[in-house]
Symmetry: C2
Subunit: 274 residues, 2 copies
DNA sequence: CGAAAAGTTGATCTACATCAACGTGCGTGG
DNA sequence: CCACGCACGTTGATGTAGATCAACTTTTCG
């Protein structure tokens, strides 16, 4: 683990990009968020940021790199619950739970910000809109897991694989890590297998089918989606579950109450109480 | 839909029971919660409380009866994401999302309380500990879905089925709806199949195996678990994911800040700032 | 009582797992 | 700098858990 100063301006931070796709945040909210991301740590690949059964540590914000959230059975079988991408949070619930029921392991070198759980309470008290945006991010993660459950329960191997690729493409696009349908997928076929509930061999054959049909191309870790439309249709991909639609008006009504530091400051298309 | 007055005292309400297993709440928190459950509605079986694609309605608290949260593919395949049991919340995130990515349908006649989403903001501002308890409940649901993902991805049909039965037993026990290892399971084999990602026929055979091995008994909708230990071991059940351990101290530190109505009132084993 | 819904069981099929062998890129240590 | 080892990818052959099909029974309920 290496400590390092924050290099990027907050405006280019993945979490900021992600939240911006949802809410227009004020300058004060921006600077508070930037403060949460002040303490930055770098970790090499294959590091556990969190271990099943262990006590939760600080809350983490993934700033760069990939990780997986996974659960293991005593006999070694493993399920990847979700991919942790830049802009995603790790251990938001650490205040609420005694110990973690899953592990988080880095796939690449990563840069994570971390802050003590106590700040969550402070955040809710002082910056309710920002807190709501983080809650949105957390709730969206649950929706992603539920969609993956639908994949494992009711989609075929081909459909699941196509669906996952489209999902990653969409999620990475939001944080500017995918363009023209291609992105870096720093993932072995074993990890894909564990994410999709398949065997390594079968993932391999499924990717081959997708390649042979011309829907995707793979060179090393670079994946290119040639026809997103068709791939989405193979995977029965309906992006409703990513909840990318901008914050509804009633969010403003609910969260821009009296107890926050910044006086009401409408600052874009989302304004409290029309 | 039928309106009806609240009959039970708040102390016997399932949500109260569930939250009590986590936190000791004050009298003021109790009365606020009771107020949230004031508006009560009854619905018959097979009613949609929420429909995929539709706008969210009010937040609901399940007080009695069973429902399922499920997602459907355009061609009709369906996945039950979770069972909604008494004490569970429906649509906690309605403020954050524009439209629902899943449906909620009653299995039995139900009694639900409902309140407008705006009250969530109020709740966080005035009763942060209570809000934290509801957040715990929501986060726990995500943990349950993740555990089910592990089941569908990496457990066999027998293991999945055993696991689900133990899970339901544990969850129902908390709200006093199971005793001596037996409870009412108002669920068709088709629904079990959709929950476990199996075919109806295979669920039937799997239940038969569990019956023949003497682990469970079924008479109509009554299920009796004869040997919880062994059933749990078949399902590789590790209750860590249900997060039933009492609120950690740091929750108190984080959420009993300045902005709440009730002055500090230690009221049991959980007290702010020892 | 009658019809539809739900449960049950056997026969057969298939998507995916498992087993096995080999290829390929790459880091490392001699 | 080469060679060895090792992780990862690929492909064929074979096995099997669970799906599908089909027929029948039991329960539920209007």
């Amino acid at each position: 683990m290496t400590r390092a100063p924050a290099s990027r301006a907050i405006e280019h931070t993945p979490l900021w990009l992600k939240l911006s796709s949802y809410l227009v945040l004020s300058d004060e909210e921006k600077s508070y968020l930037s403060d949460l991301e002040r303490t930055i740590v770098r970790e090499p690949p294959r590091t556990d940021l969190l271990q099943q059964g262990e006590r939760y540590r600080d809350v983490r914000i993934m700033r760069d790199g990939w990780a997986i959230r996974h659960k293991a059975l005593p006999d070694g079988r493993r399920q990847v619950v979700n991919f942790v991408l830049p802009g995603d949070l790790i251990g938001m619930y650490c205040t609420l739970f005694e110990s973690a029921d899953h592990s988080v392991t880095t796939l690449t070198a990563v840069e994570v910000a971390s802050f003590p759980p106590e700040r969550i309470g402070e955040l809710f008290r002082s910056f309710p809109r920002l807190a709501a945006a983080l809650a949105w991010s957390g709730a969206r993660e649950e929706a992603i897991v539920a969609e993956r459950l639908l994949s494992l329960g009711r989609r075929t191997a081909l459909e699941r694989t196509a669906h996952l690729i489209v999902e990653l493409l969409r999620r990475l696009s939001i944080v500017n890590m995918a363009a023209d349908g291609h992105f870096v997928l720093p993932v072995t076929q074993e990890i894909l297998a564990d994410a999709l509930g398949l065997s390594i061999v079968h993932i391999n054959r499924t990717l081959r089918r997708l390649r042979d049909s011309g829907l995707i191309e793979l060179n090393g870790q670079r994946i290119t989606v040639n026809d997103v439309r068709q791939l989405a249709s193979v995977g029965q991909f309906d992006e409703l579950y990513l909840h990318l639609i901008r914050a509804p008006r009633r969010l403003e009504r609910a969260f821009s109450g009296a107890h926050h530091h910044n006086g009401a400051r409408p600052d874009g298309e989302d304004r409290p109480k029309a």
